[in-house]
């Protein structure tokens, strides 16, 4: 089922006096339980598209529809609420909060998503998700003591702990070696299916495309 639609999205930047059109009318749909990979050369507009879809920057034209609501027409606070409760994010780097333990990173996300779970329920949920990502034994560890792969697993756990509908992943394996990259991609694919999320992932690594259900190639601001 389609839960997310990008409809004729354009993005234009002013480069001095010149107009620079990064996205030239993109259409894209995301379905539940499917991973969609965006690929393309540097400057093709894939990261810009991901950030517009995630409500991190506005589009110059077009619509982004999530569960029937046009998020491009919403104010910042409304978009923030959707980001906090319905979207999950995984970035190139884990970006974990250095002074929180693994368990606390996930607790923070549950608070931000306003899940209203009591502490005991939070801990139960966290234990479940940490088991899914294979990090239950490191729940009391601080980020500084985790390896790159472990950090990214925790980042994935943080991205899905509040059961988002959409997972946005921007080069999630770029900082990992090939073995860890494969582990992370397997995890993202399995979690997407298990939690019935739609995942939109930007990657430049052709090897990772085998884990995607759909591959969207971009070139010069257009889908090929």
């Amino acid at each position: 089922m389609t839960i997310f639609t990008i409809d004729k999205v354009r993005k234009t930047f002013m480069n001095g006096e010149m107009k620079d059109e990064i996205l030239k009318g993109i259409n894209l749909s995301l379905k539940e339980g499917e991973v969609t990979a965006l690929v393309g050369a540097s400057g093709s507009g894939k990261s810009t598209l991901l950030t517009i879809a995630a409500g991190l920057q506005p589009a110059s034209d077009g619509k982004v529809l999530f569960e029937g609501q046009n998020i491009t027409a919403m104010n910042q606070e409304q978009v923030r609420k959707i980001r906090a409760s319905k979207f999950g994010f995984v970035f190139q780097f884990a970006h974990l909060v250095p002074f929180l333990t693994v368990e606390e990173q996930l607790m923070l996300m549950l608070d931000v998503a306003d899940t209203k779970l009591k502490k005991r329920q939070q801990k139960k949920e966290i234990a479940k998700i940490l088991k899914l990502v294979g990090m239950e034994h490191r729940k009391d560890a601080y980020p500084a003591s985790l390896s790159g792969g472990e950090k990214q697993r925790v980042a994935i756990a943080r991205a899905i702990i509040h059961k988002p509908k959409i997972l946005f992943a921007d080069e999630p394996t770029a900082s990992l070696d090939s073995k860890k990259s494969k582990d992370v991609m397997l995890l993202i694919r399995d979690l997407t299916k298990m939690l019935k999320m739609a995942t939109l992932m930007v990657t430049h690594d052709e090897e990772m495309l085998s884990y995607a259900d759909h591959v969207v190639k971009m070139r010069d601001g257009l889908v090929q």
Partner: protein, 344 residues
């Protein structure tokens, strides 16, 4: 989740350093403020301990009280109109003990008033600091310009002027010593009534204190030090949080991207600021009070609860302003900027 507390717990060293700097600055501020208060008491307790009211001296005196000579006619008319008003004079002078030892005092003489010690002819009431110097009730003191002798009738607490103990003497004795018939000042208690008296200039208590040249210079320099320290502590907060925030710009961006409100990040910073300030102030107030108790008797030091509370609130306020100014970056940082940045 209390992120502010968790960050402080994880980075104890960093926050302890800031806390100890704030502690040292605030302790220094309390001590200098205690000295300023103490010196101000030592310099002008006689005037400071009077109730609020209006002081009058002649216009010709040009704000120098000891050049003022209020005519008897004016004095009589004001005292008749205001029953609680008092005319008084202050002159620096010396008293000689029986042993020949000479002591500097401020002779004060006034018309009858409950605000000043009542003294009969040939008697003197002294500030208690002279009692601890060995003078006793019943002792006989002399003055080179006075024909008779003064019998010490009693002592009063906290009565000093221009860093000298006050000696209250009878108005007739005063006139004999200084060969003068007029009083220098008239005081009408009870706030600023807007009363004007022909030929006289009116001063509030604070204005009058500032006409005492040594008082003004002393307080100005000490208060300047106190406020410099307060401003320095505000700057310390601003610099510390600015540096912390610069280090955490990427993290803030990511937190914003995942949906953390900007207000939550500000609250985190304010909580840390308030915690550090209260922690540092508690220790410095305690030490300041201990110093108040153990300070040598000769050291003019007075740290009142009012001053402590006022300075503490100022520290909190200035810390808040400093931290908030540095936190403007938090508001400006965008999630995109952080995503494009490397690992925090």
């Amino acid at each position: 989740m209390n992120m502010a507390w968790k960050e402080m717990k994880k980075n104890k060293g960093r926050f302890l350093i800031l806390g100890s700097i704030i502690f040292l600055v605030s302790l220094l501020t309390f001590i200098i403020s205690g000295l300023a208060n103490g010196l101000s008491q030592d310099n002008a307790a006689l005037i400071k301990d009077l109730p609020n009211g209006q002081f009058f001296m002649t216009k010709e005196a040009n704000q120098t009280y000891n050049l003022s000579k209020i005519s008897n006619k004016t004095q009589t008319s004001v005292l008749r109109k205001h029953k609680d008003a008092v005319a008084f004079s202050i002159q620096m002078g010396f008293i000689n003990e029986g042993s020949g030892k000479q002591r500097s005092v401020a002779f004060v003489s006034s018309t009858a008033s409950p605000l000043f010690s009542k003294v009969n002819k040939g008697e003197v009431v002294l500030d208690r600091s002279l009692e601890s110097d060995g003078i006793k009730i019943g002792d006989t003191l002399t003055n080179n310009q006075y024909n008779g002798k003064f019998i010490v009738k009693g002592f009063v607490d906290q009565s000093k002027f221009s860093h000298a103990p006050v000696a209250f003497i009878n108005i007739d004795d005063y006139k004999q010593i200084y060969r003068i018939q007029e009083m220098q000042l008239i005081f009408i208690p009870g706030g600023d009534s807007g009363e004007t008296i022909t030929g006289l200039k009116s001063f509030s208590k604070d204005q009058f204190l500032n006409t005492i040249s040594s008082y003004k210079a002393e307080q100005l320099s000490l208060n300047m030090m106190v406020w410099f320290l307060v401003v320095i502590s505000g700057m310390l907060f601003a610099i510390f949080f600015y540096m912390m925030n610069v280090q955490k710009i990427g993290l803030y961006g990511i937190l914003k991207a995942i949906g953390v409100k900007t207000s939550v990040l500000f609250t985190m910073m304010w909580t840390q600021m308030i915690f550090i300030t209260i922690f540092a102030l508690t220790i410095s107030i305690a030490l300041g009070q201990v110093f108040n108790l153990i300070a040598p008797k000769g050291l003019p030091f007075s740290l009142t609860v009012g001053t402590t509370v006022q300075l503490s609130l100022t520290f909190l306020l200035i810390g808040f302003v400093g931290a908030t100014l540095s936190g403007i970056q938090i508001k400006q940082v965008g999630p995109l900027q952080a995503i494009q940045q490397g690992e925090v």
